[in-house]
């Protein structure tokens, strides 16, 4: 069974939510919003999976259930004015950055009202006008774009940063090294978030990586690197917040590797032949990021069981409304097929 290297984590596990929230300057409302967003991501993905099972999704999708703490912890730590470059398993990060689930579900179903007007699908959801520069179908694709976005920010002298999120698989692409080297020599305002869910498709990270955790690779390029518990939403928030402050202070890039786990298969063709049921069950029952945060909130009396129920009903309605919106939306007009190939 794959376990994480807890003893190597740079964070302390959150045990007292009040103490941690106080230290991080997080109000109760913010904590509840974080919890609610994690739940919303989970429900959205379960509904997306259902839509697929019903045959309503033409293509594939990459679900991130189990990784919600990484999405919410990082999404809440950066600003709306920052740029986001995402990987192919990006639903959670988009929802955490405030994306409209109606437009996301519509894109899934290939509708004209979707974020990409049905041209991109799950793997290419983007909202460029909101500084969301897209999910990416190429592993490591965002790592190279981040260098250019970082250069642009640096030349314009704004206090923005670019958050580029990639998986453990991308850390073994050549571009990983080119990107970190360039960011290192030019002190670019890039926040590298390696979302290590332990499998690049079927390849276990420790089998295909000569040395883990990856923070040593960042340090090799003069970039401070951290390895943290990615299922502890407040730990993710804390490290991402600190990293963003370091970057905004003009001190150059930071690398954070968040250890997590995905519940669903890589994509819809995955039969989970490379991992055991026990392993998946362990993560779902012992390490689930929503359960862990929920337990802390209940323990601190910041949340009541009946409030959770009400919240779940509300989110369910929101997600169902997204499906209705998507279903009632028109298909793109085939006569517009070749629009937007060129500007």
């Amino acid at each position: 069974m794959v376990m994480w290297k807890k003893e190597e984590f740079d964070n302390y596990q959150t045990t007292d939510v009040l103490e941690t929230a106080n230290r991080l300057g997080l109000e109760k409302e913010k904590l509840i919003e974080m919890y609610r967003t994690m739940m919303k991501i989970r429900f959205f993905e379960e509904m997306a999976d259902k839509q697929y099972a019903l045959g309503k999704v033409h293509g594939t999708m990459h679900l991130s259930a189990g990784q919600e703490a990484v999405a919410v912890g990082s999404g809440f730590a950066i600003k709306k004015s920052d740029y986001l470059l995402n990987h192919h398993r990006g639903h959670g990060h988009f929802i955490a950055s405030g994306a409209d689930v109606n437009k996301m579900m519509a894109e899934f179903l290939g509708k004209d009202t979707g974020y990409c007007r049905g041209r991109g699908g799950s793997m290419h959801i983007a909202d460029v006008t909101a500084n969301n520069l897209g999910a990416n179908g190429i592993v490591g694709g965002g790592l190279q774009l981040a260098v250019g976005v970082g250069i642009a920010i640096q030349m314009r002298k704004t206090d923005q940063l670019v958050l580029t999120i990639f998986g453990d698989g991308a850390a073994n692409e050549g571009i990983f090294h080119e990107s970190l080297n360039m960011a290192g020599i030019w002190d670019l305002p890039i926040l590298y978030l390696c979302e290590n869910n332990q499998y690049g498709m079927s390849a276990n990270v420790n089998r295909v990586s000569a040395k883990t955790p990856f923070k040593a690779r960042a340090e090799a390029y003069g970039i401070p690197g951290y390895y943290i518990d990615g299922n502890d939403v407040l730990a993710v928030y804390e490290f991402m917040k600190n990293a963003s402050e370091h970057i905004r202070a003009g001190k150059g890039p930071v690398f954070v590797e968040a250890q997590t786990y995905r519940y669903f298969g890589h994509s819809k063709s995955d039969r989970n032949l490379y991992r055991t049921k026990e392993e998946i069950e362990y993560w779902k029952t012992v390490e689930d990021p929503i359960d862990r945060f929920e337990g802390l909130l209940l323990q601190a009396d910041l949340l009541k069981v009946e409030e959770i129920k009400a919240m779940q009903n509300e989110i369910n309605k929101e997600i169902e409304a997204a499906v209705t919106f998507a279903e009632n939306s028109p298909e793109p007009d085939v006569k517009d097929l070749t629009e937007w190939v060129y500007a």
Binding site: G134, V147, G148, I151, N181
Partner: protein
């Protein structure tokens, strides 16, 4: 009109655009104090400083990827690839990212970037520093490909390429860098996608680009003395291709020869022939359409082998005579 080299014309276009628009910047290997591998960016570091004349590590994938990222957020980067062969290390950001971002994001992104690269043979640089890869670049929707043949065109087209809101591959021929030609003072631009008749004629159309235009022109001038009237059409932009100009010229002359340095198989000459074959110009043909392209071989080192690998003036002349006399 003052004379300038092809190299100076490209240099001037970059300098003028960088003075005019602060979002334009140059990045690439050895473009600073070295002045660029071909001397094109000489003096630019002194005028614009290291941020806008950004010397990079040897990271072609990183350079083109960074250009795409900067372009997506409103900058207008010019990435210099040094030898065109090196673009093969960077096809991912060019073809998967820059070319597709606008379309796959539903028309919301623009990627105004230029990738400059020196292509072509003739310098003894052999197989990995002499290729003409235009046909490969042209095969991906979303990318424009420009290949100027004269200093005048190089400057006007590069200015348009920098201002264009799409990714543009700007193919410079390394043998042309020293060639001089008339370049007017002051600002001018040449629209992308518009071919030009470099030598008017009535009996046969030669469609070509880049260095093959100069070779075709030399042949056309020579044949003119014999009363053979060849029209030389310089495409200037390979994608989008000026189909209208090709069709119009072939309707006038009734004969077509396409000349390019890129290898024949999969080369863009096939595209030109298909355009004519499927158009009203087909009915005007008095002879089979022909193409004269680079041989399907890596460019060799030895000077005689190298010359034999790509069309030379004698080959172009022989082809023209063959078409005109119906002997192939």
């Amino acid at each position: 009109m003052p004379e300038k080299t092809y190299r100076e014309a490209i240099h001037d276009a970059m300098v003028e655009e960088m003075r005019r628009d602060e979002t334009v910047f140059l990045m690439g290997e050895d473009i600073g104090s070295y002045g660029g591998a071909f001397g094109v960016s000489a003096g630019m570091l002194a005028e614009f400083g290291p941020e806008r004349v950004r010397e990079t590590p040897i990271s072609e994938l990183g350079i083109v990827g960074a250009a795409a990222g900067a372009a997506m957020v409103g900058m207008k980067p010019i990435a210099e690839m040094m030898f065109m062969d090196f673009i093969l290390l960077a096809l991912e950001p060019l073809m998967n990212q820059a070319a597709k971002a606008r379309y796959m994001f539903g028309g919301k992104a623009t990627v105004p970037m230029v990738v400059r690269m020196a292509g072509g043979s003739g310098t003894g640089a052999a197989a990995q520093h002499s290729q003409s890869l235009e046909s490969i670049l042209m095969a991906i929707p979303g990318i424009k490909v420009v290949a100027p043949s004269t200093p005048y065109d190089a400057k006007g087209l590069l200015i348009s390429a920098i201002r264009d809101p799409n990714p543009v591959c700007f193919v410079e021929h390394k043998v042309l860098y020293k060639v001089k030609g008339e370049v007017p003072e002051g600002e001018y631009s040449i629209p992308l996608g518009v071919a030009e008749i470099k030598h008017p004629g009535t009996q046969l159309t030669v469609v070509s680009s880049g260095i093959m235009v100069s070779k075709s022109l030399a042949v056309a001038t020579k044949l003119e003395a014999e009363g053979i009237n060849v029209e030389v059409l310089d495409l200037r932009t390979l994608r989008p291709m000026d189909n209208e100009a090709i069709i119009k010229s072939v309707k006038k002359t009734g004969r077509l020869l396409v000349v390019h340095e890129a290898p024949q198989t999969g080369g863009w000459a096939g595209e030109v022939l298909a355009v004519v074959a499927g158009s009203e110009a087909f009915d005007y043909l008095d002879a089979p359409m022909r193409r004269l392209a680079g041989k399907d071989v890596p460019i060799p080192y030895n000077r005689f082998l190298e010359a034999a690998a790509v069309p030379q003036e004698a080959d172009i002349e022989a082809e023209i005579r063959a078409i005109l006399s119906n002997k192939y």
